[in-house]
Amino acid sequence: MIEVRDVTKRFGTTVALDGVSFRLDKGEILGFLGPNGAGKSTAMKIVTTFLAPDGGTVSVDGIDVLRNPLEVRSRIGYLPENHPLYVDMMVHEYLQFVGRARGLAGDELRRRLEWVVEACGLGSVFRKPINELSKGFRQRTGLAQALIHDPEVLILDEPTSGLDPLQIIGIRELIQGLARSKTIIFSTHILQEVSPVTDRVVIINGGRIVADGRIGELERAAMGRNRIFVAYRAPAAAAEAALRDLGGLHEVRPVAGRDGAARFEVRADFGQDVLAPLGRLGQSHGWDLLELQESPFSLEDTFIALTRQGAVPREVSHV
């Protein structure tokens, strides 16, 4: 369990974190999102005890990061943003070093080594110097380092940055595989990576948390209304007029569609059934219904709405 309460951190005159709070229960995975420079890495460095907060408290499994940093560190596996690798070492030397530094020895060390090499797919490079590895293998070696002591808590700062799509899927599957037994925070600015792994996200912008919750809730809260696409085989002007007369729709906007189709994007309140009326509207005018679908806002739309300067809807902030 990780609890961050009202944490502030300044670097000189720059405020990196400004009253950040969030909570993560055991076994949860948290996607930590935000534009570059939002404070993601700073927050993770504070949780891992690399930096101390200027104000507020952080605890991991109930242990305060300032009072007992060594105990906190022993429970955490941490992958910093820059590969924390000794490039002059071989992969196996490096992992042995980190394992020993984390108190493993003998059979236990050997067992854990075998496990991380298997889990991170490092078999083919196990006896290669790290400076000869590709970026993907370097990232996986970094991940193996974070896992070697079988930590309860994993803090991964941009674990997929700079990887190709196949490697990203590999890392994602690895995180999913670990999910059952561990508490994980991973940061990213690539939003598509979040939803396959978790639906719990925290979005941070300018050192403040702007959203904290399930992806679906956030999308609704951030955008306010549902979005529906509808298309009829009909004259565009007539269809638009009919839609405006229908009632219950907040916005009707013509959008590009196939030839001969009058296609619109309409907005309605959540929970209001507009699909049936839209279907009947076509029937009553004798127009063929070509398309009718609810199209919820993507995490991207939400993210942009929440992190655009000055466009932060206040009611979205749950903290």
Binding site: F50, A52, R73, F97
Partner: protein
């Protein structure tokens, strides 16, 4: 293995993972032995006074070159964050690094052993002075090393760390030189002598070189070494805030 031991092992191996270690040792031996052997053949004396006499100046260049990477490299490569989030005290990491650098220096120093062996075969050197000289070389190296690891921590760039370390060691050396302390005395009465007594290393080093073992000289080297190591540890903790 103890925490510092794990770090020591990795850092010591790191010196020998690159050709730089071998170049260092060869340069150390060639220059030191070369500087010693030339007057040796002229003077024809079976002692190592010239050898140990050269060290305080020579090590000003050699030791910071050994220590410059200790923190600066980790800070640049990102491994600093790894080290500072290991479940061990930052002072343990520091001691592991410090003693690894010391061990490297000891290896270089061991390479000079043929000189006393040769002297013992050719004549009757004062073994007390030779022993005192090696002890002085160790203590002097240990002090420069502590200065070097401290300055390496302050900077992110190895070359800057090298230059800063060199300047700091040079300052310790200079304030102990009588001509320098006399000059400072001329500016501010008594201040040069105070600096010489408090920080100057030459009087203490020369005593050891003569084979005189006194508690005060040992305390000077070990004490000042400890001061710089503590400063380094304080910096490591303070950096978080």
């Amino acid at each position: 293995m103890s925490n510092a031991g794990v770090i020591f092992r990795r850092e010591f191996a790191a010196y020998f993972n690159s050709p730089i270690a071998y170049i260092f040792i060869i340069v150390f031996l060639v220059l030191n032995c070369g500087l010693f052997m030339t007057p040796f053949f002229l003077a024809q004396l079976a002692d190592m006074r010239d050898f140990f006499g050269n060290l305080p100046l020579f090590l000003i260049f050699f030791i910071p070159a050994v220590t410059m990477r200790l923190w600066a490299e980790d800070k640049r490569s990102g491994t600093f964050e790894l080290l500072m989030t290991l479940p061990m005290k930052s002072s343990e990491v520091m001691l592991g690094k410090y003693f690894a650098a010391m061990a490297f220096y000891v290896v270089a120093l061991l390479g000079t052993l043929p000189i006393p062996i040769m002297l013992a075969m050719l004549g009757k050197p004062d073994l007390g002075a030779v022993f005192g000289g090696y002890l002085g070389a160790l203590l002097l190296g240990g002090l420069y090393m502590a200065v070097g690891i401290f300055t390496s921590g302050l900077l992110r760039d190895q070359i800057s760390a090298f230059i800063l370390g060199m300047l700091a060691c040079f300052a310790l050396f200079l304030v102990g030189v009588p001509a320098v302390s006399a000059t400072i005395d001329g500016w501010v009465g008594g201040f040069g002598s105070f600096l010489q007594n408090a920080f100057g290393l030459m009087p203490h080093y020369q005593a050891l070189q003569r084979g005189v073992l006194e508690l005060g000289d040992l305390a000077y080297f070990l004490g000042l070494t400890a001061v710089f190591l503590v400063l380094n540890a304080v910096w490591l903790e303070g950096r978080k805030y």
